[in-house]
C-alpha cells in the first residue's frame, strides 16, 4: 500500500542507515511485540489470533514495538492511545485493523481489515517496512495535543504550595520540585529549556489523559532530550534565578523569628547566637500563623491533593544527577541557601507538622499514600477499564473504577435511527458480547413492532447466544489467567475461545471434551484455590448482582465461586446448544415499514441480564433505554478493593468480569 516502505517519521530512530542498523532492524522485524488496543480480549473476540502470526503480546507500551489497534476506538480511548504511543520506545509502528486511525495518532504504518487473513497480510507488510525503513536521518517528534502539559513547581512537603516558577517553598524553604500537569493555562508562557513544547496550549479537557495509561509518564519530552544532547550546554540557563527570589519575597509575609536549632525555647526577633550554646540562630517562620493561615483550606483532603499528582511525578526522587532537570534544581538550590537569611526560610522543619495530616494505614503508621492509575490499557484488566487505586505500599486503601469506552447513550443519541442501523450500532458498541446485544436489540424492536415471539428462529438464536456465552466465559478465563500469571490457562482458554467462536453446532459438540478437560485441569491446579478463596466476597442477596456473579453469590460469593460458576455454565450452555438447532446470528424479522410502539425485553447476556426498552416511530428507533449488568457491577469495585492487597484487589476486580463497553456512562 505504501509505495515507499518507511516507518512514519515519529516511529523511526535517528541513525544513519548502516550495516549494523540493518541488522538491528531485521532482528526487530522478526521479533515484533505488540500492544493490543483496546485490549487483547477484543482481538480475541474479533477472532484475531495475534500469537499465530508470530507477534508477542506485550503488557506495557515500554515492551511493545507495534501498536495494534483493533476496531474503532471511542474518543477517550484514542486519547489514551496517543499517550501509549508516546511511551513506546522508538522503532515503533502503528498497525490499525478495521478502522481509521484515531486522529490523535500520526497516521498508520500498515492497516487492514478485521480478519485473521488481513492481520497475517498486514504483519507481513509491517515486517518489510520495519526491516527496511527503521532508521532515518530525520525522525520527527510525536506531538499530539493530548500530550501537552505545563510544568509547575510544588513543595515536596507542602503539596498546597504550587508555584509556576522554580524557587523555594515559602513555608519550609525547601526547593520546589518540577512536575507536569495536564492542564495548562495560556498565561503561563515560560521559556525554560525543559518545557519546550509542553506549554501554552489550552487543553484543559485533557487533564488526566496524560497520566492515565499505565501510570507511565509521558516520555515524549525525554525523546526530545535525547535528540538534543549535543546542545547540552543550553540546558543550564541561570536566567530564571530571579524568579525564585521574587517569588520567595512575594510569599514571605509571615513573621520571621530566630531560634536555636538545639534550644527551641530560645526565640529572638533578630539573628544572633544562642546564649546557651553559642550556635547561630536560625530563621524560622512563625509556625502558627503559617499553619492556620495557609494550610487551612487544604487540611481535610491534604493527601488527596498530594496524591492526585503523585502518580505522574512520584515525588520522592533525587534527580540531582539528572542532567535534564539539573539546572532548575541547581539554581533553586542556590536560592535556598541565600534564602536562609533573605526570606527567612528555616533550616528546621517539623516532621510532626508534616506527618500529622497524613492518613494512617491499617497498621497505624502515617504514611504517604499513592494514587496510581491502572488502565485503561493494563495487562490483566479489560481494555478500557480504568481503575484508580490509592496504594498504601502494596495494599489498596481505596479505589474506583471507571469505563473509558462505555456506551454513552441512554436515550436518543443521534436522533432517529433505522432499526437495522440501531441493531448494528448496539452490537458493534459491545465488542465483548455482540451477539447478545444484537439479539437484545432484535427482540426489543420486534416487541415494539408488536410481533409475537417466533419459535421458529428461537432455537438458532439460543444457539448463538449460548455459543457466545461459552466464548465469553473462555475469554474471561484467558484474561483472568493472564492476570494471575497462569500462562497455561491464558493460552488454552484463548485458543478454545477462538475455536468456539467460529464453531458450528457439531464443532461445539466436538469441542466438549476439551472444554471438560479444561475445567478438570483448572480444578486440579495447585495454589489456585489458595489464590482465589475468600477474595472479592460480595454480599449475598444484593439485587445489583446479576449473571454469573449473582448466581455465584449463593455458593460463597468469592472469586473461587465465580470461577466455578462460569466453568459450570459452559457445559450447561453446551447442553442448550445440543438441544437447539444450528446457531445462527440473530437477524431482525420483517417488522414492516411503518410500525410504531414501544417494546421492552431482557436477555441474559454472558455477564448478566440486560434490559432494553425501545421506542419505534414509523420504523425508526427514536429513543431507547439500556440497562446492563456491568453498569451495576462496576459500582461494586470500590467495596471490593478496599483494604485489600494489590494482587487480591485486582483479582477481585477481574473475577467479576467487567466489560467496560457495557457500562453506561
Amino acid at each position: 500500500m505504501t509505495p515507499d516502505p518507511i516507518l512514519t517519521a515519529t516511529g523511526v530512530r535517528q541513525k544513519r542507515p548502516s550495516v549494523l542498523q540493518k541488522l538491528f532492524s531485521r532482528a526487530l522485524a522478526s521479533n515484533l511485540s505488540c500492544l493490543v488496543v483496546p485490549g487483547p480480549e477484543i482481538a480475541l473476540a474479533h477472532g484475531l489470533d495475534v500469537k499465530a502470526v508470530g507477534m508477542r503480546i506485550a503488557g506495557t507500551p515500554r515492551d511493545a514495538s507495534v501498536l495494534l489497534i483493533v476496531g474503532k476506538l471511542p474518543e477517550k480511548m484514542s486519547e489514551a492511545v496517543a499517550v501509549l504511543f508516546a511511551q513506546m520506545p522508538r522503532l515503533r509502528a502503528i498497525l490499525v485493523l478495521g478502522a481509521r486511525p484515531p486522529s490523535s495518532l500520526p497516521g498508520t504504518d500498515v492497516s487492514g481489515d478485521l480478519s485473521q487473513a488481513a492481520l497475517i497480510e498486514a504483519v507481513a507488510r509491517l515486517k518489510q517496512v520495519m526491516a527496511k525503513g527503521a532508521f532515518a536521518s530525520s525522525p520527527e517528534d510525536f506531538d499530539s495535543s493530548v500530550l501537552h502539559a505545563r510544568t509547575e513547581y510544588v513543595c515536596p512537603m507542602h503539596p498546597e504550595v504550587v508555584e509556576d516558577e522554580p524557587g523555594s517553598c515559602p513555608k519550609c524553604g525547601m526547593d520546589l520540585v518540577a512536575r507536569e500537569t495536564g492542564e495548562s493555562t495560556p498565561e503561563h508562557h515560560h521559556d525554560h529549556e525543559h518545557e519546550h513544547h509542553h506549554h501554552g496550549h489550552d487543553h484543559g479537557e485533557h487533564e488526566d489523559e496524560h497520566e492515565q495509561c499505565h501510570g507511565h509518564e509521558d516520555r515524549e519530552h525525554q525523546n526530545h532530550h535525547d535528540h538534543r544532547q549535543d546542545h547540552e550546554p543550553e540546558h543550564h540557563p541561570d536566567h530564571n534565578h530571579d524568579h525564585s527570589e521574587g517569588e520567595g519575597h512575594k510569599q514571605e509575609k509571615a513573621e520571621t523569628e530566630y531560634t536555636c536549632p538545639m534550644h527551641p525555647e530560645i526565640v529572638r526577633d533578630e539573628p544572633g547566637s544562642c546564649p546557651k550554646c553559642g550556635m547561630d540562630l536560625v530563621a524560622r517562620e512563625d509556625m502558627e500563623d503559617d499553619g492556620g493561615g495557609e494550610e487551612a483550606p487544604g487540611h481535610g483532603n491534604d493527601h488527596e491533593h498530594q496524591h492526585h499528582h503523585d502518580h505522574s511525578d512520584y515525588d520522592e526522587h533525587d534527580h540531582e544527577h539528572h542532567q535534564d532537570d539539573g539546572h532548575e534544581h541547581g539554581h533553586g538550590h542556590s536560592g535556598h541557601e541565600h534564602g536562609g537569611h533573605d526570606h527567612g526560610a528555616s533550616g528546621f522543619m517539623s516532621m510532626i507538622e508534616v506527618t500529622k495530616d497524613l492518613p494512617r494505614s491499617a497498621d497505624g503508621l502515617q504514611m504517604d499514600w499513592l494514587e496510581v492509575p491502572f488502565g485503561p490499557v493494563f495487562p490483566g484488566l479489560p481494555g478500557g477499564l480504568k481503575l484508580t487505586l490509592t496504594l498504601d505500599g502494596d495494599g489498596v486503601t481505596e479505589g474506583q473504577a471507571a469505563s473509558v469506552v462505555g456506551i454513552t447513550s441512554e436515550g436518543e443519541e443521534d436522533g432517529e435511527m433505522d432499526a437495522n442501523t440501531f441493531i448494528e450500532h448496539l452490537s458493534s458498541a459491545m465488542p465483548l458480547a455482540p451477539v447478545s446485544y444484537r439479539l437484545l436489540a432484535c427482540l426489543a424492536i420486534e416487541r415494539a413492532a408488536g410481533l409475537e415471539d417466533d419459535s421458529a428462529n428461537a432455537g438458532g438464536r439460543t444457539g448463538a447466544l449460548e455459543r457466545e456465552r461459552i466464548a465469553s466465559h473462555l475469554g474471561w478465563l484467558a484474561r483472568f489467567g493472564h492476570q494471575m500469571g497462569f500462562a497455561w490457562l491464558a493460552n488454552r482458554a484463548s485458543t478454545l475461545q477462538l475455536n468456539v467462536q467460529a464453531a458450528s453446532k457439531e464443532g461445539l459438540i466436538e469441542l466438549e471434551p476439551s472444554l471438560q478437560a479444561l475445567a478438570t485441569r483448572v480444578g486440579r491446579t495447585p495454589l489456585l484455590k489458595a489464590r482465589l478463596r475468600g477474595i472479592g466476597v460480595l454480599p449475598t442477596g444484593s439485587s445489583d448482582l446479576r449473571g454469573p456473579v449473582g448466581r455465584a453469590s449463593g455458593k460463597g460469593g468469592d472469586a473461587w465461586a465465580r470461577l466455578w460458576q462460569r466453568l459450570d455454565e459452559i457445559p450447561a450452555s453446551l447442553d442448550l446448544i445440543k438441544a437447539a438447532v444450528e446457531p445462527e446470528l440473530p437477524v431482525l424479522r420483517n417488522i414492516g415499514s411503518d410500525v410504531s410502539g414501544t417494546g421492552e425485553t431482557t436477555v441474559e447476556t454472558p455477564r448478566g441480564e440486560s434490559r432494553l426498552k425501545v421506542s419505534l416511530e414509523h420504523g425508526q428507533v427514536t429513543s431507547y433505554e439500556l440497562d446492563t449488568a456491568c453498569s451495576h457491577h462496576i459500582d461494586l469495585v470500590a467495596e471490593l478493593v478496599k483494604g485489600r492487597e494489590l494482587g487480591d484487589a485486582l483479582v477481585a476486580v477481574g473475577s467479576i468480569d467487567l466489560s467496560p463497553w457495557e457500562v453506561i456512562s
Binding site: 527551641p264 517539623s350 516532621m351 510532626i352 502515617q366
Partner: protein
C-alpha cells in the same frame, strides 16, 4: 610493623570519625543509626586487622568480630523497633522534636 596494618587502622579510624560525625550531626533517628553502623564498621576493620597481623593463631579475635556483627544487627533491630514505636506515637523520629526525651 607492616604498612598494611597501619593502612587498615587508618581506615578504621577515619570510618570511626565519619561515623561519629554522622551520629552527632543527623537529626533523624535512622540516620543516627547509620552513623553508629559506621562507627562499628570502623571497629570491625580494626579487629580484623589486629587479628590478622598480630595474632592470627588466636581465633577469639574472629569470634570478637562475630560478636560485633551481632551487636550491629541487634542495634538495627532495637533501633527500628524504637523508631517505629516513636513514629506511631508522635509522628516523628526527628531528634529536634524529641523534647520529651530531654533531661
Amino acid at each position: 610493623m607492616t604498612p598494611v596494618l597501619i593502612l587498615a587502622l587508618l581506615t578504621g579510624a577515619v570510618l570511626f570519625g565519619v561515623g561519629v560525625y554522622g551520629a552527632l550531626s543527623q537529626t533523624n533517628l535512622v540516620m543516627i543509626m547509620m552513623g553508629v553502623e559506621l562507627i562499628l564498621a570502623g571497629a570491625l576493620v580494626n579487629l580484623v586487622a589486629f587479628w590478622r597481623f598480630l595474632h592470627p593463631e588466636v581465633y577469639s579475635g574472629q569470634m570478637f568480630v562475630l560478636v560485633v556483627m551481632t551487636v550491629m544487627a541487634v542495634e538495627m533491630a532495637v533501633g527500628f523497633g524504637v523508631a517505629t514505636a516513636r513514629f506511631r506515637a508522635k509522628g516523628s523520629v526527628e531528634m529536634e522534636e524529641a523534647e520529651d526525651l530531654k533531661g
